[in-house]
Amino acid sequence: MTLAEKRKLGSVLVVGAGVAGIQASLDMANSGFYVHLVDRSPSVGGIMAQLDKTFPTNDCAMCVISPFLVEVGRHLNIHVIPCSELERLDGEKGDFKATIVNHPRYIDTEKCTGCGQCRQVCPVVAINEFNCGLDLRKATYIPYPQAVPLAYAIDRNACIGCGMCEKVCLAGAVTYDDKTKITELEVGSVILAPGGEMYDPKEADSWSYSHPNVVTSLEFERILSASGPYRGHLMRPYDREEPEKIAWLQCVGSRDINRAKNSHCSSVCCMYAIKQTMIAKEHSAHELDTAIFYMDMRTYGKDFDKYYSRAKEERGVRFIRSRVHSIEPVENGNLRLRYVKESGESVEEIFNMVVLSVGFKPSSGVETIAKKLGLTLNEQHFFRTGDIRPVATSRDGVYVCGVSHGPKDIPQSVMEASAAASVATSDLSSARWSATRTPQLPPETDFSKMVPRIGVFVCNCGINIGGVADVPAIREYAKTLPHVVHVEDNLFTCSQDTQERMKQVIREKNINRVVVASCSPRTHEPLFQETIREAGLNKYLFEMANIRDQNTWVHKNNPDLATAKAKDLVRMAVAKAEYIEPLHQVKLDVKPAVLIVGGGVAGMEAALGAAEQGFQAYLVEKTDTLGGMAHQLRKTWQGEDIPAYLERLIKDVTNHSKIQIFLNTKPVHFTGTIGSFTTTLNDIHTGNPNGIIEHGAAILATGGREYRPEGYQYGNRPDVMTHLDLDQAMKDTPATVMNADTIVFIQCVGSRNSDRPYCSRVCCTHTLKNAIELKKIKPGMNIFVMYRDVRSYGFRESLYQEARALGVHFIRFDPENPPQMNIAENNILTITVTDHILQRPIVISPDLVVLAAAVLPNENKELFELFKVPVNAEGFLVEAHAKLRPVDFGSEGLFLAGLAHYPKSIDESIAQARAAVSRAVTIVSKDGIMVGGVVAAVNPDRCAVCCTCVRACPYGIPFIGNEGHAVIQQAECHGCGVCVSECPGKAITLQHFTDQQLIAKTRALFYQPAMNE
């Protein structure tokens, strides 16, 4: 068989269902592939589900991830396979056979409704791993309330086999005789996202981790969490007292080759420790003293330095630069830390509690998978990946993302997940939509102008509702409500058989509005909407009354009042149902093309990615050459050759039949909505039109540049240069550099100051790399690095170790007292800096000074205004969500990549560009986009063109159209309702939540039969 004839499969396998695995699965399933998502644990979510808040926005982690969990759980083209592992992988890229081991769960996920009866009767307790062992759970358990799949599991290690759960399970889901099974899956490619684990501080005894008041950072997350062991009440485990002083010790199990044998930096601990100090202060009723003991504060990400400053300056968090050796338990459950201040003074301090900021290690699955699949690991036992192909493993067709190939934060994991999704499917594009399923639905019945005929289904939810409230009474009450033509109660309204019955009843009784009184719409509304749609009803002809989560669960001790409240809730739902209208979504055509603005590495990778996926790419560049900043770079941090890569990339982009390149061009006009945009391109010099293109999505990769420093005699002397100048000199005239006997590198020139309060992320690595290279060529050279914090995050820490081993001198300075440059009369240059160890100024006479200059975004005000994309105070583009939508803009159909987003290394730019492709392909791979539904609609007659909606919309969607009234595009509206509540002319309505519907609902709430009858 030739290569071309080889079979390409339209399904893919994702191993690991943490946030990275979830993102990769959603991207691929939404762009035409059938996804098998395997995870060892009983549910998806990974470590993110355990977090309390996320930095730097302090958003609730569960609130952010929960919609993603629900989408994965309900996606027609994602097959979630919990309690399972990848055993072997045969075949090759495009046509693999994956062998999966399915461990027994002892509860059938298909039958389990998640009612929780089994847990209530289970007599056995076991350690609750989800809460890090800080409390107990039953042997029959669900890891956390939002878990997907929403099904219980039995921990057979703890289970005593009493059979109680089987007896009470009304759904018949308990299967004690469940056995390990082997299944085989045929997939075209594999993405590995097994994630990481936290370092276990038990491995060394100097941290006294056996003491209850010494907790790991993940344990502290659970302590802070409202769903955690203490319900969010800040207490220390030893005596449940509220602590008044807490210390955080950084780099526990990271940057430690002595006790932990982990040389890498874990990349996230500085930020999460800062977050925990701030959140802990919020949770504390009294003044809480928090201190972070650290070596370098590595707040290198977007808005991270501002977060750090806020903690230090506004919240009074103490930052103490000292690595504490050991924790000494003293009386009353307190802990003594001894540390040395920067002045050299030794101090003892007592804390009520100590948090160990534990680092990442690869998940235990990484090594197993690597062995089974024949993949290479790096020195730290993570999957080995390169810089130029950042998500490819050593085996063709197998890709990685997330922490399993290096410590990283959530947005970086999510970006890589999308990148992996796009790379993993680019060879399978011929099989797109070949393995996916589409629902077969009957046509919708037209009920317009018909009297409402409402059917009410009251759920017992096992005994969750029926065990508290009087369900038969609620049922009989519902029969008395206006327009109700059918009422029944079910054991489980969500069970398969009830769904079938519901469809039958709808048809038989001509029901045209359905009310279900059961659990939460968050988990179940889509299911019921699907069911009524299958019976020919528009899915919006549905209303739900939450009589479980908001009633019987919280009023267990008041059954009578719970019954009364359930009646109120049902009456309200029926009242609204009377006025609900069918909403029809409209299908908009999609132009299968992507516009990419910016021809640097990010732009070219994006264009190539889109073209490899089979879509037309238009690559627009304002200069006359492709390549951008990368032309000035020599090697990646791992030593890969950038010029050779760049040459190959330019060639590939130029020769690809699906890429059209526009040089010397800028977009001048841009209209349309997601799936169908039109952009006019002009020649940048002549102003003449270059073309009008139609595209379904756009990616902005407008790049950045190096700051030209002011001060330090930069520009006046040949012996003062920036990093890029040095790189250029090393290429062109290496002798001028190598003649130097002493070189000084000054870090943070133009970064982390009041003008640019951000870290430029790449400069520390750049300095380390150049210092090592120089030292290797000329070992006798004196190299001094003057720094504030060395931010060699992740595996880049190995460069720091190497530089130190080679004898590079590192001198730390404070921002208040930066290195001073003096030029003597004889033109001799000296640098004076206060050494933090000697605590006195030292003078160095270098032959060369290298300034680690900041990275600035390119200024593109007009362009950004044209695309209506937001820019932050520093000029970087602002993504839709700092954590889970790192390459999307708030406006649908627009994406970003590269330095325009934030300073980043070339491997990170490549990953982000590929991620943007993945997100864009979820749009352009479809033949149409459904728009409408629960969105805002403007009544032009009432519009006073006051601009209130324009200003109030959090997504920047409304505008005042040429027609003379506000316009809100259905395709772009998120349906949040803010404009509706703000509009002073009452010109805007949120469909499905109209005034009429909500007023009917509130009137029903206050309806008092005694007064009216």
């Binding site: 006073a944 006051c946 209130t948 200003r951 002073p984 002319g985």
Partner: protein, 222 residues
Amino acid sequence: MIVADRKPLVEIQEMVANSRKILVIGCKGCVTVCNVGGLKEAEILASSLRIGRNKNGKPMEIDETVLERQCDPEYIAQLKDKVGNYDAVISMACGVGPQFLSEAYPEQKFFPAVNTKFFGGAVQHGIWEERCAGCGTCVIHHYDGLCPIARCSKSLQHGPCGGSSKGKCEIANDVVCIWDLIVRKKMEQGRLDDLRLFQPAKDWRTARDGGPRRSIREELAS
């Protein structure tokens, strides 16, 4: 636009304390744009009054409507069949509204629901500032687009006065000294010498000082 503030609820309640049937009329002009007297605000006021009366055990009937503008007789005329049926009619327009209404329907009692404040604009959502004093003789061009008549507490034509301190006016530290801004802008633009130009005493007859004003456009009026 004309910027107004809603009167305190208690004041409006007192105005209509003895009325049993009330109509609230919003205006779709300036007061809608400054979020004080559009349909939404009219409905909110009506609801508030209704709740207040129900609480006090003196329920009443209250309706709400909105006119395109309350400063044109044609729109006022649209209320012809309505106004007679109420004990009280509350206008949510600027001071023009209740007067046009009273002139058109002399039998009916009208009440203002807003305090009309100034001519200005929204500097951001929810914040409006005065920009024009309606003095009748515009001199903005002398001051690079910054009006000292409306924005200087003393309407000085040759400022600043001794009460200017660190960019703020002496009357309150949240009031910007416009003269500080004018001088700075002139300096930035290299036009400071413009301020040497003598401005004669302002003729205030075109402002309110000349008595009530009218504007006649003969080509339109004839």
